[in-house]
Every structure is written in C-alpha cells, then in structure tokens.
C-alpha cells in the first residue's frame, strides 16, 4: 500500500511541477484512526501529504462538482473503480468534461468499515489503527490486537465487481483481478424475502437513528443539485421533523433520485455518523436497474443512462 501511496505522490508532484494540473485531489492521513481525508495538493510540496490506504472511504469524485477554489482549471484525481465510475457518470450528466480531469488510477484494495472495527472492541477507545500486510493492528490504551482486514471491509467492497478504474490517464500499481468474494446478486435487496409488514419494520428500524444531518447526501457524488428537494421551501416537499414519515420521505426519495446512477461506492454509509446502512434499500434499486434494463452505472462513457431512454418492450405488467 505504501508503494502505491509513493506512486501517487510522485505522479502528483510531476503533474503539479509541470503545470499540467492546478490541483491533485487525493487523501491525506487523518487525525483520528481509520479516517484518511480528502486532500487538495496545489504544490509539489503539498503532494508529499498525499497517502493511500484502506481508510480512504470518501468518494473523491464528489469534489469535482463541489469544489469552490480554482474551478476553471484542470485537476487530477485519485480514482479506484467506483470513483472512476462516478466520474463517468458526472461526464455523462454534463457536470464535468473528460478534458478537465486527469485520472490517477489505482486498484481498490477494499476499504475498511470503521463501525465493524469498533464493534470488535465494544465501548473501548481505539487510539491507533495501522495496516500491516493483510491485517490491521488495532491499538487502544490497554490492548493491541491484529484483525484480518478481510473481516472488516465495507459490505459494498466485498461485492464490488470493478476494483480497477474504468477510465484512466495513468495507472499506479497493478490492476487487480480478484473480487473480495461477495456476490451482489445474493446480497442485494435483503428485505425482498420478507412480508410487506416485516419489510416496513426492517426499513424503519434501519433509519431509526437518523439525525437528518444529510451527510449521506453530501458525501454522494450523485447529489450535486444546487437545491436538494429536502431544502426546497416553496413548496416544501418534505417535513423537517423527526417524525418517521418525514425521515422516511427523505431516505426513500434520495435513494430514488440515485436510481440508475448509484455505483455502490459506499460513501453514504461511511459518512453516516450514526451508522445507518442505506444499502439496505439502495441495493434494491440497483438490482432492479440491472435486472430490468441490463445497466450498470458508470461502466461506459457512451451507454445511455437507463432512466433517460426507453425501449418499446420495457416491462409494464404493473400498468393497467
């Protein structure tokens, strides 16, 4: 992993010193364990702060549309599979052009789910987590333990089928062949097997801790609307209270707005301060998009987005 980080730093330095880009968007080491953070390097010296690890849980493509500094210039961005798929999506949705981004590609190692690591040490304060080969070394005040990284990856990383970037300008390190052993068709839409009443219970249980901070929305590269529907005031589509109906309205509609666009990058779940697992319901939409329209978002720059086209023989049993 350190070799990749070194490769990223070198690539970034080269691009910045040549003036090929204004800024390199990557990750830097965070001040708390397992939280490396989006970092913007503007000079070759700043590029020394770049890193790469299994703690890089934000989707950097988000910042291609949310950045306020130097918006006109060309930027380089570190992108693994899912991030590159979102870049494709942003290009297709006319938010950026291909020429504006230089993609520094990396194969995703699979990112760590902080919540899973914390759950192994209930109520304990974790002071440091480092990667050591295939293990994490987790330290607290009175303990130090090794945890196999494979056991604590984010759920979406197990079922990822695209760890390598789909578009790339330069690749750092080797492409990766293996998946992490999951099969999305077996785990997507986990509540389908339940009865309607049980489904509502499962859904409602999954969002019960929501504090409506909207970190899931704000961490998502698909949610670039200048005014989100929950922030519309005239008319106000969605109530502001903690009433279950208001909270559920937010989650259902946000998920639906991502239909046919979500790359299952997991940034929403990683950002959530209360550990809500949105993939419980977003995976249903992605499954439908795959099954009904044979589409996987962000794999191809040319393919038309599934909800912007139709075929005469699209399924319509539900229409009377």
């Amino acid at each position: 992993m350190e070799a990749i980080a070194q490769g990223i730093r070198e690539a970034a330095k080269k691009l910045l010193s040549q003036g090929a880009v204004d800024c390199v968007i990557g990750f830097a080491q965070g001040t708390v364990p397992m939280r490396d953070y989006p970092y913007f390097a503007y000079t070759p010296e700043e590029a020394d702060n770049l890193t790469w690890s299994r703690f890089c849980c934000n989707n950097l493509s988000n910042f291609l549309v949310r950045r306020e500094m130097g918006e006109a210039g060309k930027v380089a961005i570190v992108a693994q599979g899912c991030v590159s798929r979102n870049i494709v999506g942003l290009i297709k949705e006319n938010q950026i052009t291909r020429e504006q981004v230089h993609i520094i590609g990396v194969a995703s190692p699979g990112m760590v789910d902080r919540g899973k690591v914390q759950a192994l040490f209930p109520l304990k304060t974790i002071t440091e987590v480092t990667e050591d080969g295939e293990d994490l070394v987790v330290k607290g005040k009175d303990f130090e333990e090794r945890v196999p990284t494979k056991k604590v990856l984010r759920q979406n990383c197990y079922t990822c089928v695209q760890r390598n970037p789909v578009i790339v300008d330069e690749m750092i390190g080797e492409e990766s062949e293996a998946t992490h052993g999951g099969n999305i068709d077996k785990v997507a839409a986990p509540w389908e097997k339940l009865m309607p009443e049980e489904r509502w219970e499962a859904f409602s249980e999954s969002i019960k801790d929501c504090i409506r901070c909207y970190a899931c929305r704000d961490a998502c590269p698909l949610c670039y609307c200048h005014v989100c529907f929950v922030d519309e005031a005239r008319p106000q589509w969605c109530g502001k209270t903690q009433d279950e109906a208001d909270v559920a309205t937010f989650h259902i509609l946000r998920a639906f707005h991502c239909a046919g666009r979500c790359t299952d990058c997991g940034a929403c779940e990683s950002a959530c301060p209360v550990g809500i697992k949105m993939r419980g319901f977003t995976s249903k939409i992605e499954k439908d998009i795959r099954e009904l329209y044979g589409y996987a978002p962000g794999m191809d720059l040319e393919e038309e987005p599934p909800l912007s086209v139709y075929k005469p023989n699209d399924p319509q049993e539900f229409i009377k």
Partner: protein, 65 residues
C-alpha cells in the same frame, strides 16, 4: 415511455420498503378515454378501500414532538 421506467423502479422501491402492494396504481389513459378513466378510478378506490387506512408514511401532528 420514460415515465414507465421510472414508475417501475419507484413502485418496486415503495413495495420493497413495505408499502402494501395494491396501494399504488398506474394506468395509461388518454384524454379521449373517459370511460376508462371512470372505470380505473372506481377500481383504484375500491382496491385502496379494501386495504384500509394507510399504516405507514403517516404523520400525525397531534402526537407529541
């Protein structure tokens, strides 16, 4: 025709999170099909009545908080 795709996904999503099947209806009705419109409305209201009052996504402002 675009709407057909969006409705398909929306209907599946709502039923997936526990809105009862039968509460959501979709129909193609032209402005010239008054009879079909009338029949469909009757069908829909009957189906929804049979299900009884909605149980979810109901906000009651009389409740505390």
């Amino acid at each position: 025709m675009y709407a057909r795709r969006r409705f398909a996904v929306l209907k599946n999503l709502l039923e997936y999170v526990g809105i009862e099947p039968g509460r959501l209806h979709f129909s193609w009705i032209s402005s010239a099909e008054a009879t079909k419109f009338q029949e469909t409305v009757i069908e829909v209201t009957d189906a929804v009545k049979a299900l009884g009052p909605a149980k979810h996504m109901i906000k009651d402002i009389r409740k505390v908080a």
